[in-house]
């Protein structure tokens, strides 16, 4: 009979989640390994230049499921693959495609964490009698009795900090989730993996978006839309300078993201960067590096973690993309489910579709989607 203290570990086949499973099993917890099968890596393989045989390091590549299963066998814990392909397509892939078609640059990982992964893992865990889940994310969560809230904090290994992708976690989710790696560094994790005899202790980290083999967004969009009987909409248009002067033509807005320098197709004595993408007119505005800098951002679809709600201006540091050093700003509520933040120093390439995550020291205050 499964104990209510059972912990379901989300296993991706990588070092981090495998080590979590090994640590919990070693400590004597009842552990069940789960892998969410999110995307069939063979589905679009071979179409429009998408590689035929995806490498390891993406969600649900067969190699990763194989690795996760081997770890579970090694640890002697039950292991199951749970099919969430339809939900992933509906909650992550389709919104991702829609955002992209609207000229924004979405982050599917946050979409997945916010709308699928934690919700589904907890649901499946509770279905099978496990009260809590554990993941290999680098983040710290703890209960603050004074505030009566679950707090999400940056991890010990700031280079591996994944709190940016976790801003959407609800209090309920934080209360039932363990992040056992939060106070460890990556080298320590690899060392534990070695000690526990995990064969994959040297497996490289995955970096790419899991369902886009090769990391070529446009290739993916083309192949996916074609499979759906659709085509990449015609979005060719003008490439204009920030003053309005037409510099040339481009072949489609999907070729651009804010801050992009390469592949603009125009020459200029000084480097040019994409400043703005207008999905309606298909106009792409380019300009100098300095022009990329923005003083403020507006974010919606907010989630608050360390506070119940934002009711007054608050000093925070804001991270506007994964590899961004959080920058000081003052944010204030400007409507239902909307904040505007003003940076102390202008920030480069504030990109609609990415998320803005607000920090107070090491704590995640909350976050939202940049509009």
């Amino acid at each position: 009979m499964i104990e209510s203290t059972t912990i379901a570990v989300a296993m991706s086949g990588g070092v981090d989640s495998s080590t979590v499973a090994a640590m919990l099993a070693h400590e004597g917890d009842a552990v069940v390994g789960l892998t969410l099968q999110l995307w069939d890596q063979t589905r679009l393989a071979g179409k429009h230049g998408i590689p035929d045989a995806p490498k390891a390091g993406r969600c649900c590549s067969l190699d990763d499921v194989y690795d996760a299963r081997r770890v579970a066998e090694h640890l002697g814990i039950p292991y199951y693959v749970v099919n969430q392909q339809e939900r992933f397509e509906q909650d992550v892939v389709r919104p991702f495609v829609a955002e992209y078609l609207a000229g924004r640059t979405p982050i599917p990982c946050s979409l997945c964490n916010n709308h699928l992964k934690f919700d589904q893992l907890l649901k499946t865990a509770q279905s099978i009698g496990a009260e809590r889940i554990a993941t290999g994310h680098y983040a710290v969560n703890e209960y603050d009795a004074v505030r009566g809230r679950w707090i999400l904090k940056r991890p010990a290994d700031l280079a591996k900090d994944q709190t940016y992708f976790l801003f959407g976690l609800t209090q309920e989710q934080l209360a039932h989730t363990l992040f056992p790696l939060g106070r460890m560094t990556k080298p320590e994790v690899r060392e534990v993996a070695r000690q526990r005899g995990l064969a994959l202790s040297e497996k490289p980290d995955s970096q790419e978006i899991c369902f886009i083999p090769g990391g070529d967004y446009k290739q993916f969009l083309t192949a996916y839309l074609e499979e759906q009987g659709r085509q990449l909409p015609e979005t060719a248009g003008e490439l204009v300078a920030s003053g309005g002067e037409v510099l040339g033509q481009h072949e489609g807005i999907f070729n651009f993201t804010i801050g992009q320098r390469k592949g603009l197709g125009v020459s200029s004595p000084t480097p040019l960067y994409v400043l703005q993408i207008d999905p309606a007119s298909h106009r792409v505005t380019v300009g100098a590096d300095e022009e990329l800098a923005t003083r403020s951002l507006r974010a919606r679809r907010l989630n608050w973690i360390s506070i119940p709600e934002l009711t007054a201006p608050m000093r925070v540091r804001i991270k506007i993309r994964h590899r961004h050093e959080p920058a000081w700003a003052t944010m204030e509520p400007t409507g239902a489910d909307e904040v505007v933040a003003t940076f102390d120093e202008p920030q480069r390439a504030v990109t609609p579709g990415q998320s803005a995550v607000f920090y107070d020291g090491d704590e995640v205050v909350g976050g939202g989607w940049i509009v």
Binding site: I2, Q37, K123, Q126, S127, G129
Partner: protein, 409 residues
């Protein structure tokens, strides 16, 4: 922890007698059946004896039995060995993937296939097979019993249709062998595949009945084994195990064992159906009464030939409203009950059963359906245990996730 295995349609354990029969053929009598010497002759004798047993099992001549690696090979041999560019092939949409994928492969070689869909009861209407025939149809392949629902198909009717049309007829007998009496003459088939491990024999061995004079090309070429119809050194221990399993299967059909399994299955089914929001896939009326479960004749189903919907003794496929079947399978496994829900895709995740989908179930219900398939050795205590665990698990799942059925991914 007590474990009850109710996934016999996936595979079965060896019966002790089968294991004992195989034992000498690993080390003492290890010879190659093609060798001249005594060691070879011992192996040859064992294979000959096994062939005679299989001939009795199928009701055919010894020379019509080919030993192979199992159901997939038998199914593939029928299709790849008979069909040529320009031929037309008739099968059903509820076949095993060994048939469906082979048909897909043949599409690349100029063979068109018609997939006949089942009735909502899971039964293939022979009239639909008849309608699918074309002048260039060369082969019909229909399973004897469906792996998911246990529904027995009207193979005799289809055999008659094949004979009248002058078309070859293959039966995938994997899920029927050991559960119902076989008679390839009565079935009117030209080929009939079975697999040992579905009937308490070893994995990796099976047999194919090929009616004498059939122009079936061998999949494997090499030595002159199996009268040049299947190259490769005979798997002697496996073949001996298969024959023992076939012998015991014939006995089970006569000594009341299978009837006992049917009674257990009926009790299990009736017990689970006590839960609200449940029903049986693969028979009408949907709610089966124990005494009628084996032979359910729904008034809604009257074919021209008036064929009742029959099921093999060991299988019941049950849908559960308002829960995720995949979670239920995992929860039951952790509580010691092994059952199946849908088919495993390459990663091990579950896909909704193509059989249930073909029967017209929507995806949500197909996902929330579980197959219980009993071993020949199932006991009253097994059924008691499952009837204790399943309602608990179902109620737990429904309690924590009351709307899950509507949102299941």
């Amino acid at each position: 922890m007590k474990r009850v295995y109710m996934d016999a349609n996936a595979t079965t354990p060896l019966l002790p007698e089968v294991f004992e029969a195989m034992r000498p053929y690993w080390m003492e009598r290890f010879g190659n059946a093609s060798s001249i010497h005594l060691d070879g002759q011992q192996a040859h004798t064992a294979v000959d004896r096994a062939r005679a047993t299989l001939a009795e099992f199928f009701n055919c001549h010894d020379a019509e039995v080919i030993f192979n690696s199992g159901g997939t090979e038998g199914d593939n041999t029928a299709i790849f060995g008979l069909l040529r560019p320009g031929d037309h092939f008739v099968t059903t949409s509820i076949e095993h993937s060994a048939i469906l994928a082979a048909a897909e492969r043949m599409a690349l070689h100029g063979v068109e296939t018609t997939f006949v869909a089942p009735q909502p009861s899971g039964l293939i209407d022979p009239a639909e097979i008849q309608r699918a025939l074309r002048p260039e149809t060369r082969l019909i392949s229909v399973m004897l019993a469906n792996n998911e629902t246990g529904v027995l198909q009207p193979v005799e009717e289809i055999g008659r249709i094949a004979r009248e049309a002058g078309v070859f007829f293959h039966i995938d007998g994997v899920q029927g062998a050991g559960k119902v009496p076989l008679d390839v003459r009565r079935f009117g088939c030209h080929l009939f595949s079975i697999s040992a491990h579905k009937m308490h024999g070893p994995k990796g061995v099976g047999a194919l009945f090929v009616r004498r004079g059939m122009p079936v090309e061998s999949l494997l070429v090499g030595g002159s084994h199996e009268r040049r119809r299947r190259a490769g050194t005979e798997n002697v221990p496996g073949i001996v195990g298969l024959a023992k399993a076939a012998e015991l299967a014939m006995l089970s059909l006569e000594d009341g064992t299978i009837d006992r399994v049917a009674t257990l299955r009926n009790r299990l089914e009736a017990g689970i159906l006590q839960l609200s929001g449940t029903g049986v896939n693969g028979a009408l009326p949907i709610v089966c009464h124990p005494e009628r479960a084996q032979r359910v004749e729904g008034p809604a189903f009257s074919f021209s030939s008036d064929i009742p919907v029959l099921r093999v003794a060991n299988t019941t496929n049950i849908w559960f409203d308002h829960l995720e079947g995949e979670a239920l399978v995992i929860a039951l496994d952790l509580k010691g009950v092994a059952v199946s829900g849908g088919s495993a895709c390459h990663s091990g995740a579950t896909e909704p059963s193509h059989v249930l989908m073909a029967m017209g179930l929507d995806k949500t219900r197909a996902r929330a359906s579980l197959r219980f398939s009993l071993l020949k050795t199932a006991t009253e205590a097994d059924v008691d245990f499952v009837l204790k665990v399943v309602p608990e698990a179902v109620e737990h799942l429904r309690a924590i996730s009351p709307v899950a059925a509507g949102t299941a991914g």
